[in-house]
């Protein structure tokens, strides 16, 4: 393989990784606070794809993007209110089953409403413009994804580290009960967390599907699981870790496909997960937690 091809694949990998990183943040935030793998997160991402398709059918693209972001955010918060909040004090297994149930529901709902036939994703003209850098060529979205990802992550970091809401979020993820005793409105903080996660998933969905061209009701499942792996890889609860995990998985996956092992690209992600959980269960940057009796 020539160096140009390798660089070209790296560019694709970074772009895919950026989208993964945005989704992985949603997992890591929710897990940090609720200790819940939000199995529905990948399907929220898929639904955001459909919202964009239907918004673009009759509206110009800037408005469609805003509508997609708002509707997806509301959906994420609504799902938490309806499906997770009533189970707050139940065992972890029931809330996980509820998350799987929501994922099942969203997939079936999408199949019912939009049929299982892949739907073409609308083209946003300026995102699809092709740029040439020396011998490399890339569409604008490929270049935009990593930059936008990093900007959003920096904004999120500022939010978490400097604002009062961010401080409350950190407190809740550290100790649920004590945070409650300190007068933090837990439910509001959890809603904010889901809103941020779903918002980033919607951004990720626009970037991801613009490159992939079509959406099916099941196109959220595997990216969702992979992004969870990315979050675990980077250390769950750690935003920077999730971003690095997302970029890493995106790169490796693209390289495996380029080398002709496309059937194994999904399997690799899970193998990485199992190995990671065995060698360093807290992930690259995760904090060590002590098990209490």
């Amino acid at each position: 393989m020539s160096s140009t091809t390798i660089l070209q694949h790296c560019l694709t990998g970074i772009s895919l990784g950026g989208a993964y990183a945005l989704i992985a943040i949603g997992y890591t935030l929710v897990y940090g606070i609720l200790r819940l793998i939000n199995f529905a997160h990948g399907d929220i991402f898929m639904m955001a794809g459909y919202f964009m398709i239907f918004a673009m059918a009759s509206l110009p693209w800037p408005l469609s993007i805003v509508i997609t972001l708002v509707v997806t955010t509301l959906m994420g918060v609504g799902i938490e209110k309806i499906a997770y909040r009533p189970l707050r004090s139940s065992p972890r297994m029931s809330i996980m089953i509820s998350a799987i149930g929501v994922s099942y529901l969203l997939q079936n709902l999408a199949t019912y409403l939009f049929t299982a036939i892949p739907r073409g994703y609308p083209e946003i003209p300026f995102l699809k413009r092709i740029f040439h850098l020396g011998e490399l060529s890339a569409s604008f979205v490929t270049l935009l994804t990593p930059i936008l990802t990093i900007v959003l992550v920096i904004l999120l970091m500022i939010l978490v580290n400097t604002t009062k809401t961010g401080m409350a979020m950190r407190a809740v993820s550290k100790d649920f009960e004590t945070a409650k005793l300190m007068g933090i409105n837990i439910n509001a903080i959890i809603s904010v967390t889901f809103a941020i996660g779903s918002f980033l998933a919607a951004v990720g969905s626009i970037l991801y599907f613009t490159d992939r061209m079509s959406v099916t009701p099941f196109s959220g499942t595997l990216p969702g699981l992979k992004c969870f792996v990315a979050a675990v890889f980077g250390g769950i609860g750690n935003i920077g870790g999730a971003v690095i995990g997302g970029f890493f998985i995106g790169m490796v996956e693209t390289l495996l496909v380029a080398l002709g092992y496309s059937t194994f690209s999904d399997a690799f992600t899970f193998l990485l997960l199992i190995v990671m959980l065995l060698v360093k269960p807290t992930g690259l940057f995760g904090e060590k937690t002590q098990e209490k009796v």
């Binding site: 972890r92 297994m93 099942y104 529901l105 199949t111 019912y112 194994f264 399997a267």
Partner: protein
């Protein structure tokens, strides 16, 4: 003691009645094709549901790897059982591995008693392979906590699926084209048990084994681990040994059920065993009640029957008196189903049976109270 005897007699009688009914269905195959096929599928799913419940409900290990183990059982059974004369038709794209072909030719020329037990050996081999893998994977993943275990087993099932559909195994698993022309269920004991009844017998035997396991001291250890791992360990229960045992046994029976599913469907591909199959089984045990064997069995039959039969009308357009009812079209049934699951998860958290088992005592008490109620109502009616 009297009650004990009565309950045993009642159970035996109802089992006999059930099998008599199955034989009746077998002799009137033509009229009841739909019913038979649904009952067969339910029985197969009941087996995997109980095996998943053994792990999730009784040992408290939230595993989502069922589809992976089922695919191992299904693929081994299918590869070993596809008849020699159909081989070229099945492996039409890439051809079959020559060693596998000569092995199958050797089996086809073996004496007839070998051939009559061969399907069962194939099922058993698949199950043993799956439990060997489970034992290996278990060493690694069973020390993980609840949700990490779920995602690790789910990942394992995806890895298995990727291996089966990989082009490197084309000569054996036929890659992404899948396998077909799989023979149906074998007969048992000469022709004493017709092929239609075989899956029910296998399922009944396997579930009976799991019930005995749950009732043994091992089963009590499983439940102790479910309730509180640290307390169980303090009581001297070897955590790893019991978790591993539960995991291996559960995978064994999942694979067995997968093998039967291959015989039932007659054709399989790697996509059949995707994550959604695991979710379907999870749905069955959640509706039946996590931690109840009879709940899982009952729910397997109810869910399958309503999915494939009773609720079919949701998918057809419905017209009442010239008015075209909206909503009714393809896919609506599954939406109803997922809503039902959410209602069970959020409102009726115990499912059909909770963690209780079916008992004749309660059944009889309920019937009695029904009659008493009527008596009282009649009395009241007489007084007026």
């Amino acid at each position: 003691m009297m009650k004990h005897k009565r309950n045993a007699i009642l159970s035996l009688a109802s089992l006999l009645l059930l099998f008599a009914y199955l034989y009746y269905l077998n002799f009137h195959h033509a009229q009841h094709g739909m019913l038979i096929s649904i009952l067969e599928k339910s029985a197969i799913l009941a087996l995997v549901a109980v095996s998943m419940n053994l792990l999730n409900g009784f040992t408290g290990l939230f595993s989502l790897g069922q589809a992976g183990f089922m695919s191992i059982g299904a693929y081994v059974t299918a590869i070993l059982l596809i008849p020699v004369k159909s081989l070229d038709g099945v492996y039409y794209v890439n051809g079959i591995n020559p060693a596998l072909r000569s092995f199958k030719v050797a089996i086809a020329t073996a004496p007839s008693w070998v051939q009559s037990i061969y399907p069962f050996i194939a099922l058993l081999l698949g199950a043993l392979l799956a439990s060997a893998l489970a034992a290996l994977v278990g060493i690694a993943v069973l020390r993980l906590k609840s949700d990490y275990l779920a995602i690790a087993t789910l990942g394992m099932s995806e890895i298995v699926r990727a291996i089966f559909s990989s082009p490197q195994l084309d000569g054996i698993t036929n890659g992404s084209y899948g396998l077909n022309k799989i023979p149906t269920f074998p007969k048992m004991f000469g022709s004493l048990v017709p092929s239609m009844v075989t899956p029910f017998i296998i399922t009944a035997l396997c579930i009976a084994f799991m019930v005995l396991l749950i009732k043994s001291s091992y089963g009590r250890a499983f439940k102790a681990i479910r309730e509180d791992e640290i307390a169980a360990e303090a009581m001297g229960i070897n955590l790893f040994k019991h978790k591993e045992m539960s995991f291996v046994v559960s995978s064994f029976f999942s694979a067995l059920s997968g093998g039967m599913l291959a015989m039932y469907m007659r054709s399989i591909e790697a996509k059949t065993f995707s994550i959604s199959l695991t979710y379907d089984i999870l749905l069955i045990i959640v509706i039946g009640g996590i931690g109840s064997v009879t709940g899982s069995i009952l729910s397997a039959f109810l869910v399958t029957a309503s999915k494939e039969w009773w609720l079919r009308f949701f998918d057809q357009p419905l017209v009442i008196g010239g008015w075209h009812v909206p909503l009714f079209r393809t896919g609506f049934r599954m939406v109803i189903f997922s809503l039902l699951l959410m209602v069970v998860v959020l409102v009726y958290r115990r499912g059909l049976m909770g963690s209780r088992e079916f008992s004749w005592d309660r059944c009889i008490a309920r019937v009695r109270s029904l009659f008493h109620h009527q008596d009282k109502r009649q009395e009241r009616g007489g007084a007026q």
